[in-house]
Symmetry: C2
Subunit: 201 residues, 2 copies
């Protein structure tokens, strides 16, 4: 006999599959939804429905965007400085930097970092596409904002080597970032400091 009525058990298990949500949090969320006003549940269900079909990848910077857009809002924003490009691992890193609110350039999302252990090499990332953007001209500075981890550092060094022949200034976010940490968890003040103190590499 299950401990919970089947529909509640099912919702609990669906929550448990999400990262960072254990059995107790999952059942707490399920019970909350059971008692909460109706919009809490229906809005979550509606938002889940068709999420993936509606989200695509920007062909310029490889950040996420609406599936029917030819490029993302940031790439299409004429007010942003296209001569300075911030290179990050994931779309969540773009979000973290945008939240800090101090960067007015554009982005390039690598979609990961070089990791021999996980079998991810340079060709699995959007590094070639970054090189194409640099080759096309108009970019004066590349800020490498990969995570301050072994993989992020390796990726940064690889990119620096790949772009060595181009007349572009390459910087890396200052080591205000906690080493071994994750960019997306960094608080806004630290991100602001790291942007301001970025150094030549």
């Amino acid at each position: 006999m299950p401990l919970l009525p089947e529909p509640l058990q099912r919702l609990t298990q669906a929550f448990e599959r999400l990262p960072g949500i254990g059995p107790k949090t999952a059942s707490r969320l399920a019970f909350y939804i059971l008692k909460a006003p109706d919009p809490v549940s229906t809005e979550l269900a509606e938002a889940l429905k068709g999420l993936r079909a509606s989200i695509g990848t920007c062909p310029v910077c490889f950040n996420i965007t609406l599936a029917d857009q030819s490029q993302c809002d940031i790439c299409g924003d004429a007010h942003r400085d296209g001569s300075i490009v911030c290179v990050v691992e994931d779309p969540m890193d773009v979000l973290a930097i945008e939240r800090a609110g101090a960067f007015q350039g554009k982005y390039h999302v690598l979609q990961g970092a070089i990791s021999p252990i996980e079998g991810i090499g340079p060709d699995d990332l959007r590094i070639r596409e970054l090189e194409e953007r640099v080759k096309a001209g108009g970019i004066q500075e590349i800020i490498i904002a990969t995570n301050p981890s072994m993989e992020g550092d390796a990726t940064a060094l690889y990119i620096k080597k790949q772009l060595a022949l181009y007349p572009v200034h390459i910087t890396r976010l200052a080591r205000g970032l906690p080493v071994g940490g994750d960019l997306e968890y960094t608080d806004q003040t630290t991100i602001l400091r790291a942007l301001a103190g970025r150094q030549d590499m």
Copy 2:
């Protein structure tokens, strides 16, 4: 301009409305669902759909149950000892005790605790229904397992007074529970100890 594409923003906001989930966790969950295999998202959406309509309240013990059941699985289980009834505040407390796996009696869910601050009095709880169950006979022991908080203690004392005239043994979970804490967060070992060391009141 929103920081995220609208469908992702919407999902993030839906997650943010859940208890204990802040903006960063919410966006992390939304990004996870975007990248996760399809069942993670569809199963969550399906489980949310019609949850409330499918869940009802057991008319005997007031625990949650399937809407079309005349009583819950525990009340209907002939193998469980109906002469011993454990009184808890919420359905999640039943789950916590069932997970400990040491209790073979039945339950009574008060659906809250007496709290003058929140304006919850004895009549807002299922105390009268508990008295009716005791009056009907067959119950030898009432284990009061309300939270070890001011409200839980007040509720326990009130119930003890209400049942004073009936020939029923009233016990309270042992003070192995951390005072001021919440029953549903208690680890299983502590619950087992509290059950074993329950005391007369």
